[in-house]
Symmetry: C2
Subunit: 197 residues, 2 copies
């Protein structure tokens, strides 16, 4: 029973997404997800603490993001370091073969408040991880928080573009482009406020 | 039974906070909250769709925030308009007599994942409302999103300071100060990225 199952989390996520689309998140049980994946309920709970978590990969993204920020060149500014983190996510998670799955997942998430709440908290956690990674590069606290906040916005912009394109640009280049646009908008916004206050 | 109850939502929130502190969020039922407030379960559900929502005021904050942004002078820049929105929140919700309650509420929220998830989604909703209010003042989409994102960060900074002070500064002045600091940090971050990319 407890033998190793190749890519059990991935099979569970795929089975869950199918079932959530077919009958809705509320009408699907963990047992049904496990059965559809050809696995047991106890295998499910070895990887995920609850039903919602099956669409969130169990937190693997944090390490890749943090490592991507840490490994940016020492002379890179904070936004450039965040670009390194988003690049790493693109290479590891937001790959071309995940684009269709990610779009379907997004639609399921948007249809369910519980899932959107979980996603909202994940996003806060990922932003906090960016802040810590930037702190370790020497960025003072508010500098790190502003950078992480702008980085999270660029991530959101790039992700929406990425799941909306058919075999177009990869996530990494889209994220760099979005970061440049967010940076330009931030310069514009801070200039406007100077003129009027 | 269905007669008007003076400040029923406020009494329910106060009763809920007491009970969550005494026995934990999970170990408290809606019936117990209603009883402690001297009200009925059906009165509870007239104001709140579920147990979590009792600590979130049923969405009244959005209107005040949006109206505060809309009523900023026409010549005000987007960050200044957001300052108007945060001022309005300070006058209406984050008043001196709410400071202790807000600090207790924050501690209860931080101790429970379900509540933190609800709060995270509320925050996304409030940020989206700021974006829409800024759009209506003529800010293009990414300008509005960057402004709202920086505004939400300043709100968070000011709120933490506000609940941490004893009868010190009001929320409005703290929010203006936080917005100025966030703006300065954004200028710093965007300059740094220019130097290195």
């Amino acid at each position: 029973m407890a033998r190793w199952q190749p890519d059990a989390p991935g099979r569970l996520a795929a089975a869950a997404l199918d079932l959530f689309e077919e009958r809705g998140y509320e009408n699907t049980t963990v047992i049904e997800i496990a059965e559809r994946a050809g696995l047991t309920k106890s295998t499910f709970f070895r990887y995920f603490p609850d039903k919602r978590e099956v669409l969130f990969g169990g937190g693997a993204m944090t390490g890749v993001l943090v490592e991507g920020i840490a490994s940016a060149p020492p002379e890179a500014g904070p936004l450039e370091a965040v670009a390194g983190g988003l690049d790493a996510l693109g290479r590891t998670f937001f790959t071309d073969d995940r684009r269709v799955f990610s779009g379907r997942r997004e639609a399921v998430l948007n249809a369910n408040t519980e899932l959107r709440e979980r996603e909202a908290l994940k996003r806060i956690g990922l932003t906090a991880s960016m802040v810590e990674a930037l702190n370790r590069r020497g960025a003072p606290d508010l500098t790190a928080r502003v950078t992480a906040t702008l980085g999270a916005l660029a991530w959101e912009v790039a992700y929406d573009q990425w799941i909306g394109t058919d075999g177009g640009e990869g996530f990494g280049p889209l994220a760099r482009q979005a970061l440049a646009e967010v940076r330009a908008a931030a310069i514009h916004v801070t200039n406007l406020s100077e003129r009027h206050t």
